[in-house]
Amino acid sequence: MSNIGNKVKIKYFGSEYEGIILESSNKDIHLLKLVNGYNIGLPKKGSKVKVLGKANIGLKLDSAPILKNKSLPNISLISTGGTIASHIDYKTGAVHPMTKPRELLGKIPELKKIANISVSEPMSIFSEEMNSEHWSKIAGFVARELNKDDIRGVVVTHGTDTLHYTSAALSFALEGLSKPVAIVGGQRSSDRGSFDGGMNLICGVHYAASDIAEVATVLHGTSSDDYCIANRGTKVKKLHTSKRDAFRPINTVPLAKIYANGKLEKHSNFELRHSGKVKVKSKFEKKVALIKYSPGMSPDILKFYEEHKGIIIEGTGLGHVATPWIESLSKLIKKGIFVGMTSQANYGRVDPYVYSTGRALANHGVVYLEDMLPETAYVKLSWVLGQTNNIEKVRHLMVSNIRGEYSKKSNPNSFLY
């Protein structure tokens, strides 16, 4: 019989410990929460357990209905999971998604003074589990909320690992975007005093109430809790595994800086709020791939992709792969597969004309995607192929600047911003 959740006294050799038995991933031990708050483990073998009664534990948060304030904007929050919507499961000690998005609002009481927030939850998953089906579903939810007249903007909460893929996906899937869409995450979980998602969410709500009609990521701008940066959804990347300010603009500068008090500093041009309705074009093609070339890599790997509809290569430097690849890529292109070239250098533009390899690749039909991020190119290709199978149209769309994924000029301030 399981003793989990019971108040017990355990005798183990010379010692007696009193506490509550918690669930443990190690089946051979009793994980015990002592009266002083510390958890310890005792081997089941050799432990004498005396049950004292049932303990009352579990997370209870303020989930009382929040009253609407007519003078505040109405913002719709769409929760998809991730660290920002996680809490500690005290039974197992693991980090789990919050079951009720309202719990999040209970943790950040300031939000009640900024906006009337309604919450929906299409899914609750960590971002490494996201795929294009999830992008479609989120896009549908976002468009539905945006097209409500009384909703001023939308905030999507998301795990950070693939947040920048989803921001690109939403950028392409929402056509005629007339209101702001903020995508917000957190690098520290909400159980800690240093939860960064709190300020990110506050700034995200300010963004959603602003006049910037763009999909943008809204997270810390620095390691301090001073302001967030809103980055265009197609020009942003997670550049650090764990820092608060991991999301940086690539080949551009942020759209704006946003402070927790609502102050918004404009940093580049953006689309303005208007009255049109948003159309959803949320079909994504699954048979696309993003391939990172590494020195010595055999082109044989490309055989696996013969049944794909398109691939994006993350080449070296200005957009190169070793000579044996040229023929293999040419074969794919002849089969009608789109091949796009980006760079693994993170920053800068690819260029086929500087070296002969680039010229050969371009001559064989590899499309050079200028300063578009590899991740954005991957998402865009998936989206474009979801809209059309006509390879000429695909090539045309891939080189057109649809959602600000290309910069016409390279901003000298953008490197390592």
């Binding site: 183990y12 050799f13 010379g14 010692s15 410990y17 190690n26 031990i29 994980l31 929460k33 002592l34 009266v35 002083n36 708050g37 510390y38 958890n39 310890i40 483990g41 005792l42 081997p43 534990i57 579990g58 997370l59 209870k60 948060l61 500690i88 005290y90 000690g93 693991a94 980090v95 943790k107 950040i108 690098q187 520290r188 979980s189 909400s190 159980d191 800690r192 005093g193 240093s194 939860f195 709190g198 300020m199 390691s223 301090s224 809790d225 001073d226 595994t241 764990s242 820092k243 608060r244």
Partner: protein, 475 residues
């Protein structure tokens, strides 16, 4: 004061820094006075604990809504201290030291240690919590007034240092954050201030006996828990000087008595001890609602075989007794037993040289020379002491030449070279020098004569021997 009528019950909580790297990052644990490389500004928010309750102490801190400014020095701070990266595994050396301490305190050691997060949101921890783990329970120490129980022995991270504050912000330096601390909590088994003092001193002595704890101001901190009849426990934080315990305890008893006499509730609070030995309210007593598991680290399985094979260090108190027995006086015994150089002292004892000479050379002669030459950051290496005393044991130098040799060594000469100049003078040679000097200075009194001769032979012969020869020659 009649403490038994008052119903005084006191317990101790002792925090001692370990002399290892930081507990969960591989950073140095050296404090710094340099200008910070970076400043960070953060906020902390109140969170709900495991039981779903927000800790009362946490609510108290958040209500102040302060900015926390952190001074970052790249020399001793990593992204772990700035709360930008998950912790690394626990420092092995610190763990081994706490196992040793647990054994010296007769504790049971926890079979599976889980690292916990203890919510602390006064800004002193960038994460909003302190990482801490329970390692030992149910121990005791012997005192002159009976056994004092040790309730728990805990290994945790030290907090950041408070540098300054104003109305809206508090500034902390991150150099201290993460230094391993051992926290030892006794049961409220003490009933008078002298006993508190004795217990604190004994625990301090046991900790220092490991040779692995930090020394100096701020490296050990004592909190005293005090209750009297009619009240509940009050925690007095930051007792720096053990010698002030009597005053501090008496002041607190008087304060509690005053409160009780006005029918006010006493207890359930943490107070900070001020330099005048009175105290001021700091915050409400935290509850167990502030503890939950550190999810970024696995539980640690205790290796009992390894722990039982740890060779326990000799306690400083036993060391002192041993030194008294070989003829060191009380003061020197205590000084050398407490010194980090007691190992080298023990080694040199094997040469059978007079222990007092060894102890004074290591403890005071070295200091005098450094003072004279105005050097403070440098120390004589252990090998130097070994070499110089083996030269002495082999009669290659005389003891009177030791200070001169040390001085020249400090200035950068090699020991081999210096020693050549201090070869002892043979008896016949010495006699010759003495008789010549007497001839040339026949009118000088004996004292001045000895001085003159000693100057000439630069410590290469014993003063007593010179006196004896003068006596023989002038008979």
């Amino acid at each position: 004061m009649n403490y038994s009528i008052i119903g005084l019950k006191a317990g101790l909580e002792i925090h001692q820094q370990l002399n290892t790297g930081k507990l969960f990052s591989r950073c140095d644990s050296k404090l710094t006075k340099d200008m910070p490389d970076t400043l960070l500004k953060r906020k902390l928010r109140a969170t709900t604990g495991e039981s779903g309750k927000i800790d009362i102490a946490a609510v108290f801190e958040t209500s102040k809504n302060l900015d926390y400014i952190y001074e970052v020095h790249n020399s001793n701070t990593s992204l772990i201290e700035t709360d930008e990266e998950p912790p690394l595994e626990i420092d092995e050396e610190a763990l081994s030291i706490i196992y040793t301490v647990c054994r010296l305190l007769n504790c049971n050691i926890v079979p599976f240690i889980q690292i916990m997060r203890k919510t602390v949101i006064d800004g002193s921890n960038t994460s909003g919590f302190q990482r801490t783990c329970l390692v030992g329970t149910d121990g005791y120490i012997e005192t002159s007034k009976g056994k004092v129980s040790i309730e728990s022995v805990i290994l945790e991270e030290d907090s950041a240092r408070r540098v300054s504050e104003d109305k809206n912000s508090v500034t902390y330096r991150l150099d201290r954050l993460g230094i391993p601390l051992i926290e030892i909590t006794t049961a409220p088994d003490m009933h008078d201030p002298d006993h508190i003092k004795e217990t604190a001193q004994k625990i301090g002595m046991i900790l220092r006996s490991t040779g692995k704890v930090k020394r100096g101001i701020g490296t050990i901190r004592q909190d005293v828990n005090i209750s009297i009849s009619g009240g509940t426990r009050v925690e007095l934080k930051g007792v720096q000087e053990i010698s002030a315990i009597n005053k501090i305890v008496n002041n607190e008893i008087e304060r509690q008595q005053d409160e009780l006499s006005m029918n006010r509730k006493v207890g359930g609070e943490v107070r900070n001890v001020k330099s005048d030995t009175t105290s001021k309210f700091l915050r409400p007593m935290p509850t167990s609602a502030r503890m939950y598991p550190e999810t970024d680290l696995p539980t640690i399985q205790t290796n009992f075989k390894k722990i039982n094979s740890i060779k326990l260090p000799e306690l400083i108190s036993s060391r002192i007794e041993r030194y008294l027995k070989i003829g060191l006086n009380k003061e020197l015994s205590s000084m050398i037993a407490n010194s980090s150089q007691n190992n080298i002292f023990d080694k040199i004892l094997e040469t059978k040289i007079n222990p007092t000479l060894i102890a004074t050379t290591i403890l005071s002669t070295s200091k005098e020379i450094k003072r004279k030459l105005k050097i403070d950051s440098w120390n004589f290496p252990d090998e130097f002491y070994c070499d110089i005393f083996s030269f002495l044991a082999d009669s290659k130098i005389t003891k009177d030449s030791i200070p001169k040799i040390m001085e020249r060594f400090t200035k950068g000469e090699t020991l081999e070279k210096i020693v050549k100049d201090y070869k002892p003078i043979s008896d016949s040679e010495l006699k010759k020098i003495v008789s010549e000097t007497i001839k040339e200075n026949s009118k000088l009194p004996q004292g001045a004569l000895i001085g003159k001769i000693m100057e000439q032979i630069t410590g290469r012969a014993d003063g007593k021997k010179v006196a004896k020869i003068i006596g023989d020659l002038t008979k």
